[in-house]
């Protein structure tokens, strides 16, 4: 006798953007394999159209606060804000890729664009997941797509090495995450985040049980790998350097946004009442992450590697928000993730723009004299660097300000002092790029600078404009971020 099967309530409206994105991915795949279009940019344009359409449908869900698919999907402001960030990341990445495919024709394929979209679908489901199982499946969708994308330069040994390294270590980290989820389930008896919050609230003694604490620790390990938290950061420089530059920008911002969404959903809300020594663990991790990232970035000669270490440091700043806890810190994290998307993809976009056939410019010397030769490009790079360093009036400054002020309100003064010291250290290596660009004679070898395509102009322009808007008129997005925090219903 089979048990009665009850149909779950299905509300497709809640996942409409993700459905549209997936359809676009399938369409691009078919269009490419049947050879329906001949123009070089056609695939990218189809993808772009689909993504922009999906982004627009996102707005139809504004202000919703409900669960769908029997609690699997949480449709709230938090998922709306992060989905918006992820769609922006996707749009910027596609725009930058359209230029990048001029020197790397290999990436102009249906597989590239559909993998890009599938990775973004995984990210947006991670942001909307209300259940640990869906969170895990979404994380895998994102990770597997990105493993392939990292190795997309099939003839480049560095790229293949990066892909293999990321795949092996990522698979290892994922097993930690899964075991952590299993322990959390064992301790609380539920996979559902809202039920788990409820359970912890009514049974606070579970917080000190060994099963629960090992679950927390293992989950932190798995997610810490994804955000390259020290001491799980070893893969970051090699993978970021070997991956195609546009993908580096995509994974640095998108994966971080998705993984921090998971951290907020699991750690800040259900575990918000953890005993103090547990936030001390994150405290130490945040300080180490910032310091290690910034100190090693000081001595890097390759700009891509320098940005990889700076990515580690930024994960540290974001972790300050996780330590601080509370709704203000959540809003700060959301705001920072949005700014970080603009400035990081922008910086990697500039790197992807400078290259000649099949090679990329990477070392600091190759940037010398660039700022005077190409004033607009130099200005854009300067904006990205100032923003990454956190200098007003850019968005990077406002993001740091919101996170730091939330941490001070929660009483973590020393953490903020260390964070501010780290920002000061980081100014050295960000400004070094600007110094080299403006105050050094250009090298003997002339930099081959291809004519800027409309796509890259639009992409970099959007990123720079986004940074300035977030820095000068932060109130609209700050209010949006404050209304988007995750509070259990």
């Amino acid at each position: 006798m089979s048990p009665e099967f009850i149909l779950p309530a299905v509300n497709f409206q809640c996942i409409l953007p993700q459905i549209l994105l997936s359809l676009t991915a399938l369409l691009v795949l078919l269009v490419d394999v049947f050879g329906l279009v001949k123009k070089a940019n056609a695939l990218a344009l189809i993808t772009l159209a689909g993504v922009v359409f999906a982004t627009l449908t996102l707005f139809s869900g504004t202000g919703l606060q409900e669960t769908a698919f029997s609690g699997m999907i949480l449709v709230d402001g938090f998922s709306f804000f992060l989905n918006l960030t992820i769609c922006l990341i996707l749009i910027l990445t596609i725009l930058v890729s359209m230029n990048y495919q001029q020197f790397f024709p290999g990436i102009n394929s249906g597989e590239y664009y559909s993998l890009l979209i599938f990775a973004a679908v995984g990210m947006s489901f991670m942001a909307a997941a209300g259940n640990l199982i869906l969170l895990f499946v979404a994380l895998e969708l994102m990770s597997v797509s990105i493993y392939v994308l990292v190795g997309f330069h099939k003839d480049n040994l560095r790229s293949i090495e990066a892909a293999l390294k990321y795949f092996l270590m990522g698979a290892f980290a994922t097993s930690f995450l899964l075991l952590g989820f299993a322990f959390l389930y064992g301790a609380t008896g539920t996979m559902d985040l809202l039920t788990m919050t409820e359970f912890i609230r009514s049974n606070p003694e579970v917080l000190s049980s060994g099963l629960f604490l090992s679950g927390v620790l293992l989950t932190l390990t798995g997610l810490g790998f994804k955000i390259s938290m020290v001491p799980f950061h070893m893969w970051t420089p090699d993978v970021y350097e070997g991956a195609p530059t546009v993908i580096t920008g995509f994974m640095a911002t998108g994966v971080k946004a998705a993984a921090f969404a998971a951290l907020v959903r699991i750690f800040m809300v259900p575990l918000g009442s953890l005993p103090i020594d547990w936030s001390m663990l994150l405290w130490v991790a945040a300080v180490l992450t910032m310091t290690v990232g910034n100190i090693i970035a000081l001595v890097q000669d390759s700009i891509k590697r320098m940005l990889a270490y700076s990515g580690i440091a930024h994960a540290g700043y974001l972790l300050i928000g996780v330590v601080a806890g509370g709704e203000l810190a959540q809003a700060g994290i959301l705001y920072y993730l949005l700014v970080y998307a603009f400035m990081n993809i922008g910086a990697f976009g500039v790197l992807a723009l400078l290259g000649k056939k099949e090679t990329e410019y990477n070392t600091l010397q190759e940037f010398s004299g660039l700022g005077l030769k190409y004033p607009v490009l130099g200005l854009a790079m300067a904006v990205f660097m100032f923003s990454l360093a956190g200098i007003p009036p850019t968005g990077g400054f406002m993001g740091k300000l919101y996170i730091f002020s939330a941490a001070i309100k929660s009483g973590y003064v020393w953490l903020v002092v260390l964070g501010a010291l780290n920002s000061v250290i980081s100014i050295y290596y960000y400004l070094r790029v600007i110094v080299v660009m403006y105050f050094q004679e250009s090298g003997a070898e002339d930099v081959a600078f291809p004519a800027p395509s409309p796509a890259i102009t639009l992409g970099l322009g959007l990123a720079a404009a986004g940074i300035m808007i977030l820095g000068v008129f932060p109130s609209y997005f700050w209010v949006l971020a404050q209304n988007s925090v995750f509070v259990p219903m």
């Binding site: 089979s2 009665e4 099967f5 149909l7 399938l26 795949l29 078919l30 394999v33 049947f34």
Partner: protein, 118 residues
């Protein structure tokens, strides 16, 4: 409640017992003649042939992987078929969509030439 698991315990005991008893019996009553082949490492009773290192065509790998993927997707059809009557038209359409997505992948694999042997 734990009593419900007693049959599984029996099954485990029978399985372990079967393995242990066969090994003991064959070592007790089997004839023992040592030959050169049997003394070789990794012996299977036959003289080993050819080189240790030789190339296997990667085609097998692609085929096996594709088979595995499409085979696994079909597993999802079983629970659906069991509950077909209760799911009704809605379930039917849902499964159609699922199969359509599979079909897109199949067409992609086919057009990409992954099913060509040469």
């Amino acid at each position: 409640m734990l009593l419900e698991y007693i049959p599984i315990l029996y099954l485990m005991l029978v399985a372990i017992g079967f393995g242990v008893i066969t090994v003991i019996l064959s070592s007790l009553i089997g004839p023992k003649k040592m030959t050169r082949e049997k003394a070789a490492s990794y012996e299977c009773g036959l003289p080993s042939e050819g080189f240790q290192y030789f190339q296997t065509p990667i085609k097998f790998y692609v085929f096996a992987l594709l088979f595995l993927i499409f085979d696994l997707e079909c597993i999802f059809l079983y629970p659906w078929a069991v509950h077909y009557n209760q799911l009704g038209l809605f379930g039917f359409v849902e499964m159609l969509i699922f199969i359509c997505i599979l079909l897109v992948c199949y067409v992609y694999v086919w057009k990409k030439g992954a099913l060509e042997w040469d």
